[in-house]
Structures are given as structure tokens and as C-alpha cells.
Amino acid sequence: MPTLTYRDALNQALREEMQRDPDVFLMGEEVGVYQGAYKVSRGLLEEFGPQRVVDTPIAELGFAGIGVGAAMAGLRPVIEFMTWNFAVLALDQIVNSAAKMLYMTGGQFRMPIVFRGPNGAALQLSSQHSQAWESWLAHIPGLKVVAPATPADAKGLLKSAIRDNNPVIVLEGEMLYNTKGEVPDGELVVPIGKADLKREGSDVTLICHSKTVTVALKAAETLAADRIAAEVLDLRSLRPLDEAAILGSVSKTNRCVVVEEGWPHAGIGAQVVDLIQRDAFDSLDAPVLRVTQADTPMPYNKALERAAKASPEKVVAAARRVLYLD
């Protein structure tokens, strides 16, 4: 199987879907001439031309709305946000226009649009450029939200998102773009709403997504050294959640730690916990614990930033606690 970077997997997905369907176009800041702020759209302007690879002004609210209007008129826009930090300016269009359109029109206007871009912290980008919006976006009915962790999932989920007739949020990761992984040749479509079992184990379930998958896998390694068999479940989709997979794993391990990149208070992990305690109450041998970003804005200083983020050490500590080992 060929090995690709996460960036190139996304690039393949965009290219293949644009080749497949002339109604698909890419719009955003620097996606064309500059080849993408993070080079995800490299080569697309050359292949598809300026009408289908559209450089925009810095006007997130405006071009998100233009995407919504184009989708109402039957196109399939892929709107790239340079990062999701800036998409906060466009939330009115995502929430009030895209997510509610089908509903408030009584089913008349489908909304086949993708909003994508890097989410969460990179390295030392400080408070305004290091935010993870999972829980905000997953809160909204009418949206689907995915957060691929691997190149294969990045390709397969983006392709599904583009073919979906609903607004789909694709949360990528700046720190993931350079990561490599095997990506099966040919048509690869990963269904939205299905979690992926990354590692089997019987003692404790580590639930994660996006960048925290590596964190959880590292933690599982450490735990294995102490003969603790951790199961690692990559949610992949945050709305809808793969409830069956979550409940299935926890009812096997009876213990769970939920890892996420964002802030703790009303984070997406709280919803996972709510589900587990409600539908797997009797199989829980310990409370579910969460590992999140520190409940603070992101500091610039390198050491403080590292301390603020979810880490394998923190996941190991939480796992040992739900196992009543410390």
C-alpha cells in the first residue's frame, strides 16, 4: 500500500472528487496561487483553473456565506478556512444558514457543503491561534463533524464529506499534515459516523480523535509495559458519535478515559461521558475520567504550552486511576 502524508491524502481526495464531479469547487484564502497556506491544495489551481480553485479576500463570514449560496443553487462547495480559529467569524453562516437550511425550508434546500481546515493548537501559536472547536461544532443539529487522525481517514472522510448532501465539518490538524501513513489505492470512502478500533485491549478503553489518537496510542504502549491492556478507540466522527462502538468497548473493559484536545468545560468528551454513564452504567467499575487541554487560553511559552496540552503521561495517570492503581 502506498504511503502518503496526511496533507497529500487530503490533496488526493480533493483532486479525485473534483475530477469526479464538476460541481465540486474549492474556495478559501491562499488556496490557489499560493497553493494553500499549508499546501493542501497544491497543484489544484493548475489542474482545475481559477473558477474551481478560488482565492478569496480575508472575509471568512462572506465566503462561507457565498459557499452556502452556491450550495443552495446546486453546487458542492468545499470551503477552506486557513485555520478554524478564523472560522469563528463565519459561525453565523455555518450555524444559521448552512445547518438550518434544510430544516427551515421544509426540506427544499439541501446543503452539500464542506467546511474544512486545521483545528486546534500547532506549536507556539499562542492564545488566539490555538483553539479546538470540536464541542462547539458538534453541538449543532444539521451539521456532521469529522476529525480524521490518519492519512487514510483524512482521504476517506473528506471524500465522504464532499459526497454528503449535508454540511460536513472536517477538522484537520496542522501538526498532522506532515504525518505519514498507508493509504489504500483507488476509491477510498470512509463512512461518517463510524469509529475505528486502533488497538484492542481488555483493561481500559482510551477514547480519542484527531491528534489525541497518537497520544492515546503512546499511553497504551506505556501501560502495556505494566501489563495493562488498553483498548484505543478513535472516534473519527464527533457528530454523529459511533455510540455502539463506544458502548461496546466500555462494556468490555468496564473502564474508560476520554482524551480530547479542547478545553474541559462542556467539551466533546463530556458528551461521550454522558453517553457512557447513561447507557453503560452497570458495566462501569470506575468513573470515566477525561484528559483535556488545561482550562486556560494557550500560552506562547514552549514549556507552558507543552504543559497545557493533553499528553501520554496524563493519559497513563488517568488510566491508572480508573484502574485504582494509584
Binding site: 478560488v54 444559521n96 430544516y103 421544509g106 426540506g107
Partner: protein, 331 residues
């Protein structure tokens, strides 16, 4: 207005005038009935009436074809009717009935009709202005010759989305006609109290848009200006900003006062003398294109249509309870 001194109107001009007169009367009578129904509790939530501004929707729509797109703010009953949505389906939507043009799930602020390319009905001030550019983008993307007309109030000019959208519409030469219905007030706020420059049309300079200031109480003036704008949009796709000066004869929404601290009774009375319906009727009479009996006949006709619409809405069923959960996601 000097039409009386102009050469006698052609047959088609007269037909256009009759059509516009009828459409304005239809809107007027429809809105009067909506106000009644609101008072009776048959309509809930916000309900923004179009009375006084009829010439804007009617005059501009007359310059469009059925293939053209229209998108509006929450004050869109008039546009919905002139774009051909049956009065019954509009009234039923206000009543929240299953037969409404949005199946009773949208309401007064969210009237839609995909088949007639009526793109809503949007509640966030300025929110639909980028959508219009997006529709224009799609038209151009497909090489079509349709245009998209976007209606909004003057207060929306102060919000960022207006500027972001107009800039992109111009940079990409999108076939969009932005019609600013300047009725001088946003709720209880006079435009001059919140806008550094009160000539909305000034903004066209910042975005290299074609622009005109139009008398919004004159259906014919609105028609002529829109026709020119449609011309520009269909050929070459040059976008236009029309500032249409009009006036709202009612309160902002059903729950808001007609006048009071923010505008005087006298001002409203003064403005009512410019009633777009009586003006067009008088022009046509001066042209011998119609007589009072003719006007009365049209009025009776639209009243019957509106009564039937109310009856239809009244007798229509509520959406079934399961409808709460439908249309959240498409397959």
C-alpha cells in the same frame, strides 16, 4: 413624476402597469389580512409587514424572468407573492401549516420556494447578502444567464457581511443586483443616527459597482432601474447596487409601535400621501389606462384571492408531530 406629459403609453406599458397595480394591491390586501390574523393569534412570532414598500418588490420583480433568483431578508411577504408563490401557501406558512411554502417549519421570516427560485426569507440582518453572491457565483460557474436579486434594508449596510459580499461580487463580476430598500429606519433607529454617510449608494464607489438611487414609491421607476441592472448583469455579469428610497407605513414588526419616540405621526401621515398604489393608479388614470371602476375591480379580485388564501390556511392541517424530526439531515 412626469409620465402624464409623456407620449401615451404603449399597450405593453399599460399591461405592465396593470400587472404592477394588481400585484401591489395583492400585497397590500394580503398584509392587511395577515395583520388581522396576527391579532387573532393565528400567526405567531415576528411578522414584518411590507405595507408602503410594495412598489419595490413589484417594480423590480417585473424586470425579472421566472428563471431568475430572488433572496430576501425577513421582510419578504411581498417578494414571495410577486415571485408567484400562491397567496394560500404564503398565508399557510404564516399560520404554521403543513401546506405552507416551508411546510410550516419556517414561518413569516423563512418563506422559501425552490421551484420558483425564491431563496428565502432570512432572519439575521445581512446574513443573506453573501448568499446572494454565492447564488451569483453558481450562475456564473454554470455559464448561465440568470441573475440574482437580493433585497435588504438600509440598516444592513452597517454590518460587515454587506461589505465582504459586495467586494467579492465585484471582484468576481457576479450577476447580482443588490436592492437596498432604504425605508429610513431599522426598527426604532433612524439611519442618520447610525450611519456616517446616509446615501447608501456611496458604498458602490468602494466596490466599483454600478449604482442608482431610485424612487421606491414609483413602481415604474423601480422597474426601469432594475431593467437596466438586469441588462448589465446578464451581459458581462456586472453587479449593481440600487438604493431604493421607500417608507414603511407600519411598525417594524407586529409587536412594534407604528410611530412614537423614533418617528412622528405627522411624518408617517405625510409619507402615506406618497402611497405607491394610489400613485400608480392616478398615473394610469391620467393616461386613461384605467378608471376608478377598473381599479375597484382589481381590488375586489385580489381581496377574493386573499380571502381564499386565509380560508386555505385556516383549513390546512398542522404538520404531523414527526415533522419535528424530519429535514434535520438529508439522505
Amino acid at each position: 413624476m412626469a409620465t402624464a406629459t409623456q407620449p401615451a403609453p404603449t399597450k405593453t406599458q399599460t399591461e405592465l402597469s396593470r400587472r404592477m397595480l394588481r400585484e401591489m394591491l395583492l400585497i397590500r390586501r394580503f398584509e392587511e389580512k395577515a395583520a388581522e390574523a396576527y391579532a387573532l393569534g393565528k400567526i405567531g412570532g415576528f411578522c414584518h409587514l411590507y405595507i408602503g414598500q410594495e412598489a419595490v418588490a413589484v417594480g423590480s420583480s417585473a424586470a425579472l424572468g421566472p428563471e431568475d433568483y430572488v433572496i430576501c431578508s425577513y421582510r419578504e411577504h411581498g417578494q414571495a407573492l410577486v415571485r408567484g408563490i400562491p397567496a394560500g401557501a404564503v398565508m399557510a406558512e404564516l399560520f404554521g401549516k403543513a401546506t405552507g411554502c416551508s411546510k410550516g417549519k419556517g414561518g413569516s421570516m423563512h418563506l422559501f420556494d425552490a421551484g420558483r427560485r425564491f431563496m428565502g426569507g432570512h432572519g439575521i440582518v445581512g446574513g443573506h447578502i453573501p448568499l446572494a453572491a454565492g447564488i451569483g457565483f453558481a450562475i456564473k460557474y454554470r455559464g448561465g444567464s440568470e441573475v440574482c436579486v437580493c433585497y435588504f434594508g438600509e440598516a444592513a449596510v452597517n454590518i460587515g457581511a454587506f461589505h465582504e459580499a459586495l467586494n467579492m461580487a465585484s471582484v468576481w463580476k457576479l450577476p447580482v443586483i443588490y436592492v437596498c430598500e432604504n425605508n429610513r429606519y431599522g426598527m426604532g433607529t433612524a439611519f442618520e443616527r447610525v450611519a456616517a454617510v446616509t446615501d447608501v449608494v456611496e458604498h458602490a464607489c468602494s466596490y466599483d459597482l454600478a449604482a442608482e438611487v431610485v424612487n421606491g414609491m414609483e413602481a415604474r421607476a423601480v422597474y426601469d432601474a432594475t431593467k437596466r441592472a438586469v441588462e448589465r448583469a446578464r451581459t458581462g455579469g456586472h453587479p449593481t447596487l440600487l438604493e431604493v428610497r421607500t417608507y414603511r407605513f407600519m411598525g417594524h414588526s407586529m409587536s412594534d409601535p407604528l410611530h412614537g419616540v423614533y418617528r412622528t405621526k405627522d411624518e408617517v401621515e405625510e409619507q402615506k400621501k406618497r402611497d405607491p398604489i394610489t400613485q400608480l393608479a392616478h398615473q394610469m388614470m391620467a393616461e386613461k389606462a384605467i378608471d376608478q371602476a377598473g381599479v375597484d375591480a382589481i381590488d375586489a379580485d385580489v381581496k377574493a384571492e386573499v380571502d381564499a388564501a386565509v380560508k386555505f390556511a385556516d383549513e390546512s392541517p398542522d404538520p404531523s408531530p414527526e415533522e419535528l424530526y424530519t429535514h434535520v439531515l438529508a439522505d
